[in-house]
Symmetry: C2
Subunit: 375 residues, 2 copies
């Protein structure tokens, strides 16, 4: 797709630090949870190069929180996911697919256990608030469900530990992956988690209100100068190289978790009642009809694949057997990479063909090297 401008409207909300990222030269946006999300500053490639070497500050306000409180909070959270949330400790975060009655993925949030009767779902791009509210009302659960004024910032990159320690103290070195701590600074109270949508190491900071987000941005920015800090955002190349799935791109309500390598987050025999048990048990018993595959796309003239909008067809021997969900040229692997969903009957050892929107033909080969998965 060529470049088109995005028109302003209140419906597409600005992030907490919108003015800062604009002043710092953001060039592209996407829309995520009805909010702007920066997509690149200098270029996706230059941003990538910096991200894997130094440290970046990301305004990820669009990671909206669905806050569930009340005596039935755990019951509702458990009901929405096949993952066993009863094992989640205070201070812990759990990545968990939310799955509907047909086995379809509704979202794939990180769940934060705040107290025994308060959970935050840090969501991907779909209105989980409405899904949770609908279920809770229909089931008569005693919960309150809101989207609080929480605006996350992310600090990502190999120098993130040193930067965060310089601002918040050496305890951050010991913070375990997917655990968080509550912290107080200059009268502001917020949560710091070791997490984030890259594999370069880093943290997510859940700020209360736009003002706090801007104050903490300034503090981190100032301290980051010695670490060559830059503004950043989730990076398409880095996340594909790292095997990080994106809801809406790589999986939708039409996919079940087993199809997209999320089976390990499904404890189908967990004690708590959950909506997708019957559907997922059937998938487990019958096997999947399609599955995610990591594909390398080759072109004889060396043309690189572009990021795709609508899914591109994947064919084998002239027959469509799947689609490309996300694609990018990998700097690390010096190859065009794609997340694809392929018919389970297709011959994975054979060749595939993809034609991108520019009409360029690629030969597709399934990669055995599994890009890693989130934890």
């Amino acid at each position: 797709m060529a470049s088109f401008s995005i028109s302003p409207s209140s419906r597409i909300r600005q992030t907490a630090c919108h003015e800062k990222v604009v002043a710092l030269g953001v060039k592209g946006f996407t829309v995520y949870n009805h909010m702007l999300l920066p997509t690149y500053f200098e270029s996706v490639e230059a941003d990538y190069d910096h991200l894997v070497k130094y440290v970046q500050l990301w305004d990820v306000s669009c990671e909206r929180q669905v806050k569930i409180t009340g005596p039935d909070a755990l019951r509702l959270v458990e009901y929405m996911t096949p993952r066993d949330i009863s094992k989640c400790k205070l201070g812990q975060c759990m990545y968990a697919p939310l799955v509907d009655e047909n086995g379809g993925i509704v979202n794939d949030p990180i769940i934060l256990k705040i107290t025994e009767d308060e959970y935050w779902l840090s969501i991907a791009d779909s209105d989980v608030l409405l899904w949770a509210k609908g279920l809770a009302h229909g089931l008569g659960l005693n919960v309150e469900i809101t989207e609080p004024e929480i605006y996350p910032l992310a600090v990502q990159g190999p120098l993130s530990n040193d930067l965060m320690a310089s601002v918040f103290g050496d305890w951050v070195y010991d913070l375990k992956f997917f655990y968080y701590k509550e912290f107080e600074l200059e009268g502001m109270k917020f949560i710091i988690a070791r997490s984030g949508w890259s594999k370069q190491g880093g943290f997510e900071i859940y700020l209360n209100g736009k003002e706090d987000a801007n104050r903490v941005w300034d503090i981190i920015w100032e301290a980051g100068k010695v670490h060559n800090i830059r503004p950043g955002c989730p990076n398409l190349v880095e996340r594909i190289e790292s095997g990080l799935l994106s809801y809406g791109n790589d999986m939708t309500l039409m996919n079940n978790p087993f199809e997209v390598n999320l089976g390990k987050y499904c404890q189908l025999d967990k004690a708590a009642d959950y909506i997708s048990r019957k559907a997922l048990k059937a998938v487990e018993a019958n096997g999947v009809t399609q599955h995610m595959q990591y594909m390398i796309l080759e072109n004889e003239e060396g043309i690189r694949v572009q990021p795709n909008s609508d899914p591109l067809a994947v064919t084998q021997n002239g027959v469509q057997v799947g689609s490309v969900r996300s694609s990018a040229y990998s700097i690390k692997y010096q190859a065009s990479l794609a997340f694809t969903i392929i018919d389970a009957k297709a011959d994975l050892s054979g060749n595939f063909e993809v034609v991108d929107q520019a009409g360029t033909h690629f030969k597709g080969i399934i990669s055995n090297e599994k890009w890693e998965m989130p934890a």
Copy 2:
């Protein structure tokens, strides 16, 4: 907000006729129901000028349908809205706010009654699919809820009657406002409704699948040449002049229908059970604490208001009393117009002040001339 590019991804779906609107020179997009929606072609002003004189063809695929079928279909639809849907006839469309248990607006679709046990909700920008599915599951209703492969096109403008009649027959002249008819053309079956998101007159055509949408686009385009047809899209200036509210801009889950002039769509004593009865009865009894006002914004140097992103503060005597939800310079009224939501205690006869994102100061005056409402 300055102009920024929107980055491609499968998550932001392309419309049925995306390639056509690109070839025809679309310049801006927004994202609506996780799908691209054109925002202008030549310019918002030039598009407006053409729309009010001739006829335009709009690719509004982003008007996604939530299809509810089954013995409990009417029961679920009734449950979601305070409007009395029992009165809806076969072949009729009804504009209806969907309202939650707190009285907050979830969406404001047009509801189409297809059969006695099939309704389509032609939705604004929020995941009504998840809301409806959550409620139905929790309440144990016997319904199936899907997003079918329906891709609407709109034909809008004063010449739309003649154009549509030339393609589909003279019966379209007699089609009543907010009624539809099923039609068959060259083996394609689809629905034609007299409706659309402008006040210039027109139709919405609900096509089955992207291929049919492209075929019908071509047929209408060819027939429209004698009527000076152009590609178009919902026009910010026209819709504000016409008093057409936009969900997410002018109202959100934080607003009840009475606050935003949608009281006439609330039959609080309707026979069917509905989720918002208690909350809306309380609003009716206690009155609203804020209400939508149409405001004219004046600037001494004659500077025109720009479309706003995040809501701008409206102050009176230095105190914030509300916010601007949508704004544009009206060509018809030669004035800067804004939809605002104002504290019910504010003095509507007094002056207000608005400072836009460029820092321009405007004096705000409530307009007594009510721009019309949808039917």
